[in-house]
Amino acid sequence: MSHVAIRIENLSKRYRIGEREPYKALRDTLTNAMYAPFRAVSSRLKGRRSAVGAQVPNNHIWALKDVSFEVKRGEVIGIIGRNGAGKTTLLKILSRITEPTSGYAEIHGRVGSLLEVGTGFHPELTGRENIYVNGAILGMKKAEINRKFDEIVAFAEIEKFLDTPVKRYSSGMYVRLAFAVAAHLEPEILLVDEVLAVGDATFQKKCLGKMGEVAKEGRTVLFVSHNMAAIKSLCSRCLLLNEGQIESSGTPESVIGVYLFLDIERGSIQYIRNSEGPFRFTRFWIEDEDGNILKSGSTGSYTRFVIEYQSVSNIDGFSVAMGIFDIYGSRVSHVSMMDQNMEISSSTSGRIKCIFKKLPFTSGRYFVTVSAYHHGSLVFLERHAVSFLVDDGDYFGCGAIKPGLRLGPVMLEHEWICEG
């Protein structure tokens, strides 16, 4: 008996950039219609050639390229990598939401995918009704939901609000209910995307506990997360994806080690993934006082965080905030233009710079959640959009660098006075 749960061979997925455009305008439709026959012919010709390795036009990107690996039954595999590395695409292919461009995957067992909590929740329906709708969408049978109903309600701690429409729920209650339904899925294989990033700390802990239980029950789990602590504690093996390929695989400790210093040579420039919208962020990097782009910052030195943005029209009243997280998923701090009553006024593109005269972070990798507000209301949010590295530095300027000694993520500006 092989006990293979998932076998993946040379799995690749190509996206046409712009394929996810919100919708086609009539003008585009007409011009597209003109070109459609030619395009259809050419794409067919290309399709017939081996898709991988074939000359790919510039407007295509490989979200996943030649990925092969095998998962044994009962293994809990962590998948890490930057945003845009192909993690979600991999889960989407395995859960059959989208089709690979080439390659092959064999899946032994029923798949439950949890790419988002609360999929299919309808605000007008009550908690009770949503449990059934959401459960059914996730692949549960009605009898199964009936059986677990009380358990789900107890886990979500929403007994009193069972017959209230979920639009009246607090966001905490909403997330709790959504996760509770998902946590009671019982497929042989569970695919989980960064769903633990939501909810408060206590609930996150509870979710992690539940995930741990699932893992112990001998089910196969693929688990995508930016939370290295969760990866370390839950997973038996870990994969690092980078630009659609497997960069490293092995024990969580070793792979996380590789991840933390991934692409250190390439510098800190990273592209920010955007959803559609009139306002978008383009790039992020960190630079020194003279404007040189840094590969990594160092504790205590002058550092600028730079975010580039573009907009289709003149923008007014926008402000930007960054949440800074350590690799264990805890928020280290938060910087926001709103705290200083700052707004971007009237321009179509530009750079926003956030200056740290003395970079307070201790050595390690940090994730940055980027958000934008328009007149105070949230218009853009990308969790763990980018990351940056920090090396040990001489924070207090007295030559005392103690590499490796990390007693917390931030340094505090302070003084000592000895009297007596």
Binding site: E99, G103, T119
Partner: protein, 285 residues
Amino acid sequence: MATRVFNNRTEENIPVFVVRPSRGWVAFNWRELWEYRELLYILTWRDIKVRYKQTAIGIAWAVIQPFFTMVVFSLFFGRLARIPSEGLPYPIFSYAALLPWQFFVKALTEASTSLVVNERVITKVYFPRLLVPTAVVLAGLLDFGIAFSILLVMMIFYGIVPSWAVLTIPLFVLLAVMTALGVSYWLSALDVEYRDVRYILPFLTQLWLFASPVVYPSTMVPEAWRALYALNPMAGVIEGFRWALLGSTPPDPLMILVSGVAIALLFVGGLIYFRRMERTLADQI
């Protein structure tokens, strides 16, 4: 959708799925659709539940719309234009046609945008996407049933006793559902790529109304043209429905046949087109 699924069950009863790019025409996985029947039921139920939430008069809308349309039609087409109604009182003549017609239009309007409306679910979880427009169309049957009860009241009022032909009602309702499904599969899949669908639709249904025997009997169409006329599937459905209930002139068998074939082609064509679109759906939506 995109993937071929072989439900080879091993000795331990663990299903094995194979995911790989599909090429050309992909067969329907009927067995999978059958396995998802509970989800279809729940999605239909959800659409019914949500439909009249936060409206003041709720389900009464299901009656008000066809009823007032009938009043307006009776006034303008019946009284002023004096369109013949085969010896039947014009109000009941038009109301009997409005039932399947409004079911059809509502189904189209809601189902055509249904994939886009359910975008979040579609990009986050897999299930046969065909269930989404299907559930919307089926949910419309509730409105149809409620509006139907008014028709019964009107039949009593006008003293119309149905003949044995009433037994064929389920057939014509089935044909109406299949027409609605067929067109909805086309439009919902098209809407994913071209949002123009939602702008074309009101215009399309308006023209379609006049191409269907709603305000006039199909006997007004010259006999030589009737077979061509019946290529409009709703022509056969509406004439059949009216005949089965009110005992108007029996529909031309040729018309029913032509409409039946048109419906079958529309339905099967819709399924095939939908199937083709389904595999790139999550990437394009």
